[in-house]
């Protein structure tokens, strides 16, 4: 603030100060709370609150249900549904997935699918962290 600004500021300070604030009218809090209670009890607000509280399980349930429905009902050509196609694909997973060579660790005696399961769990954990960060970002 330069000299001129400071001078004008001081003049205005004589006129305006924090003691002269305009106070809220009598009964302001109770009136506001009445409006808030009405709003909070309205069906829209109740549904919104429910969706907000349970949004993570709701979203995952919806996605899972949609995927299951797609698997069961959407036809994958003339031979059958997607689920049949996926089962067939899983059956051939030994060919389509990259081969993991465990011969370097001869003492380990694990079933073939175990290494894929471990990799899958790690990937899902990362995915979960990312989703958790996304959903919890808005929380207080």
């Amino acid at each position: 603030m330069n000299k001129e600004e400071r001078f004008e500021h001081e003049i205005l300070r004589k006129y305006i100060n924090s003691d002269s604030i305009e106070k809220a009218p009598e009964g302001f809090t109770s009136k506001t709370m009445t409006r808030i209670r009405i709003e909070a009890e309205s069906p829209v607000m109740t549904v919104r609150a429910y969706l907000n509280r349970y949004r993570v399980p709701l979203v995952s349930t919806v996605i899972t249900a949609a995927l299951l429905a797609a698997l069961i009902f959407i036809p994958a050509g003339q031979s059958g549904t997607i689920s049949q196609l996926v089962l067939k694909y899983i059956g051939n997973s030994g060919i389509s997935l990259p081969k993991i060579d465990l011969s370097a660790m001869p003492s380990l005696n694990m079933p073939g699918w175990f290494s894929y399961a471990v990799i899958g769990i790690i990937l899902l954990a990362f995915f979960d962290r990312a989703l958790s960060g996304l959903f919890r970002r808005h929380r207080v």
Partner: protein
């Protein structure tokens, strides 16, 4: 409720989010005067200020879950009051006030109040309220936040969304306009007090 009993904004926010709606009344009680004052300074009348500040509390309640605590609750609430009040003022028809429209002179205030000091204070308050109506709603908000709430330019920038440099420039202009209006009315009333 006295300020001593108040346990802090975050405490009551936590209670409200846990489902205790009544805890919100503590937040309303604590911030109502400042919210109302800001709305009043922007709108220029008590009826609209009450409507705006109530709307702002309601909006804040609805969005409380999305409040990230990056700023204080007060700053966040001020931002809502500011935006609500500015929208209301911009939506209504504008009227231009002339200096002659100032409704009273210092003699009126003296006749109501025999105490000269109080009369001068009342006169000054009315004069400032009048002068605020002659500047833009944005300038009114800046003056109110800076002088009534004693916020610094960084806080004002956060509330209004105007850059800090721009806040300084706009405050300078608003200050100058108000002083000009005040000095015109005082000249008209031939007021020469310290």
């Amino acid at each position: 409720m006295s300020g001593m009993d108040y346990k802090g904004d975050s405490y009551y926010i936590g209670k409200v989010l846990a489902g205790n709606i009544n805890a919100y009344s503590y937040l309303v009680d604590m911030h109502k005067d400042k919210a109302f004052n800001l709305a009043f300074r922007i709108c220029g009348n008590r009826e609209e200020a009450e409507e705006v500040s109530q709307d702002a509390f309601l909006k804040a309640f609805k969005s409380l879950r999305g409040f990230r605590m990056k700023s204080s609750f007060e700053t966040w609430l001020y931002r809502i009051v500011y935006n609500t009040a500015i929208s209301l003022v911009r939506s209504r028809k504008k009227g231009v006030l002339a200096i002659e429209d100032f409704p009273a002179d210092v003699i009126d205030f003296l006749s109501y109040n025999p105490n000269t000091g109080d009369a001068v204070t009342e006169f000054r308050n009315s004069l400032v309220s009048f002068a605020l109506l002659k500047i833009t709603e944005e300038e009114r908000a800046l003056i109110s936040l800076y002088y009534y709430d004693e916020k610094d330019t960084s806080a004002i920038s956060e509330i209004t969304g105007i850059s800090k440099t721009n806040v300084k420039v706009k405050l300078f202009r608003a200050r100058r306009k108000i002083i000009e209006i005040i000095s015109k009315v005082e000249k008209k009333n031939m007021i020469y007090y310290e």
